[in-house]
């Protein structure tokens, strides 16, 4: 009932509300009649597969490889990725982090290590190509303006602790654990310190890591993320750490953004907001980390001892996708900062990202996970796990991460900028 003093106005309002309610009901009943059945997806999936074959096939031809061989095998890779999306839809297992990505690798590996991946499928397992294409698209979602979202404390927690942990973990892996593969070492270090799967993918591509190394890093991240997502909020509650400090701690240490939001929600609304924002600021580091790793690999890791490398050779070796990623990130960051907030949200977030790059990026990563699984050998994977060194590296790095992040979050949110904490 409208609360006007004039009865005529009340009656008009009531009549208009009734009209609106009837229209709403009509729209609702029309909506229920157009339920999307699973088989309705088949034609669009076929069209999507053809679209990918044409688009990626053009790239394959430019790389001097056979289009027909790629197209034949791609159908299977696409099918595995689609099945992974389907099985990964189980709501409960998603809550433990077991989604389409894990299913993609798992399904592919089951096939590869039992019946064996058919030889004609292997030309389509272009893991690097799918990952790099997906990463360039991801650049559009990494906006530098976001790093100021929670003020200076957020920058210190996410941008100061993270590189320290990354470098210390890498040095620990090389000097103390003596991990033979430098690329495995850096992928696990980035995976654990920056932001899980996305950082692992970017750094693996920048350091030219083997797919087994990426699989191992993602596997470790999935397991630790599931454990930390449940254990960390329980510990924070048990010990009585304040909500904001707890949120900042979880945001800086739990790997994936979704798990950070989940863990934050277990603590409370404010903890969730702080945790999600810290993780978002950390996400911005993906491109910078990939760039630094690529430069380090070109200058120090890939070169022969005692031999200086010329600028031309560095350019040849440098993974160009990093430049694509950074260019997309800088372009979209500039657009985002120059448009009004509402316009930026409508054009960039709801338009270009949600309507285009995000959908394609999701598929490229799903395809790469399926391709990784299809071309991964269990025996090769266990060789990388020898002596449990990757696990020790992850556990030690994460312990350092937990200590430093908690310390930095306390100093920043409670000693240096208590006024910001009070506002939150």
């Amino acid at each position: 009932m409208a609360g006007f003093n004039d009865q005529a106005l009340n009656e008009t309002a009531a009549a208009q509300i009734k009209v609106w309610r009837d229209a709403e009901k009509k729209a609702e009943s029309a909506g229920t009649k157009t339920v999307q059945k699973p088989y309705n997806y088949i034609p669009s999936l076929i069209a999507l597969c053809v679209f990918f074959i044409v688009m990626l096939g053009a790239g394959i031809v430019l790389m001097g490889k056979s289009f027909s061989e790629f197209a034949k095998g791609f159908v299977i890779v696409f099918l595995i990725a689609t099945l992974a999306y389907m099985f990964g839809g189980q709501a409960i297992s998603r809550q433990y982090g077991f989604g389409a990505e894990a299913w993609g690798i798992l399904l592919g590996m089951l096939i590869a290590n039992t019946v064996g991946t058919p030889k004609w499928v292997l030309p389509a397992c272009q893991v690097e190509f799918f990952i790099k294409t997906g990463l360039v698209l991801l650049g559009a979602e990494v906006l530098f303006g976001k790093i100021l979202a929670i003020g200076i404390p957020g920058i210190f927690v996410a941008w100061v602790v993270t590189p320290i942990v990354l470098v210390c973990t890498y040095i620990f892996g090389q000097k103390i654990l003596k991990i033979p593969s430098k690329s495995l070492n850096i992928v696990i270090s980035a995976d654990m310190s920056v932001c899980g799967t996305s950082a692992a993918i970017a750094v693996a591509a920048a350091s030219r890591a083997k797919k087994e190394e990426l699989t191992l890093a993602i596997g470790l991240s999935l397991v630790f993320t599931a454990i930390m997502m449940i254990a960390l909020p329980a510990f924070i509650k048990a010990v009585g750490i304040p909500e904001i400090l707890g949120g900042a701690w979880m945001g800086g240490t739990i790997d994936s953004t979704g798990a950070v939001a989940a863990a934050g929600a277990f603590l409370g609304q404010k903890a969730m907001y702080v945790a999600a924002t810290i993780k978002m600021i950390q996400n911005v580091m993906i491109g910078v980390t990939a760039f630094c790793v690529a430069v380090y690999w070109c200058l120090r890791v890939d070169c022969t001892a005692g031999r200086t490398v010329g600028a031309g050779e560095i350019w040849l070796r440098f993974p160009k996708f990093v430049l694509g990623f950074l260019a997309a990130s800088i372009l979209f960051s500039l657009l985002d900062s120059n448009l009004s907030p509402g316009m930026a949200d409508a054009i960039l977030d709801q338009g270009v990202v949600r309507g285009g790059t995000k959908l394609l990026r999701d598929w490229f990563f799903a395809l790469s996970f399926a391709a990784i699984g299809l071309s991964t050998n269990f025996r090769a994977l266990t060789q990388y796990f020898k002596g449990g060194k990757p696990l020790i590296l992850y556990a030690c790095g994460q312990s350092l991460n937990l200590l430093l992040t908690l310390g930095m979050a306390y100093i920043m949110f409670y000693l240096v900028f208590p006024e910001i904490t009070a506002k939150i």
Binding site: A91, T114, S256, G258, V353
Partner: protein, 83 residues
């Protein structure tokens, strides 16, 4: 000497391991979640807030945008109050 396995044996292995994964994901995990009180409460909370822990990029998580808007409002309100 490496023992060769037949195609039938390989298909059996695939089926067994695939079934194991399905049972783990579709039966075991939901059963454990429903049986253990704290897990059940956590699961319901995630469901009610529509949070998907498998998402690994911030643009995929709606709560990140929500948090961003929250901080914008909080800091803007404080700035206005000071003026």
């Amino acid at each position: 000497m490496k023992k060769e396995t037949s195609m039938l044996q390989n298909i059996c292995n695939l089926m067994v391991s695939f079934s194991f994964c399905l049972i783990f994901v579709y039966i075991f995990l939901p059963y454990v979640t429903a049986s253990v009180d704290i897990l059940n409460r956590m699961s319901q909370q995630l469901e009610s807030k529509d949070i998907d822990p498998t998402r690994y990029i911030s643009t995929d998580v709606a709560q990140v945008k929500e948090a961003e808007d929250y901080f914008k409002t909080v800091f803007e309100d404080n700035r206005q109050a000071r003026q």
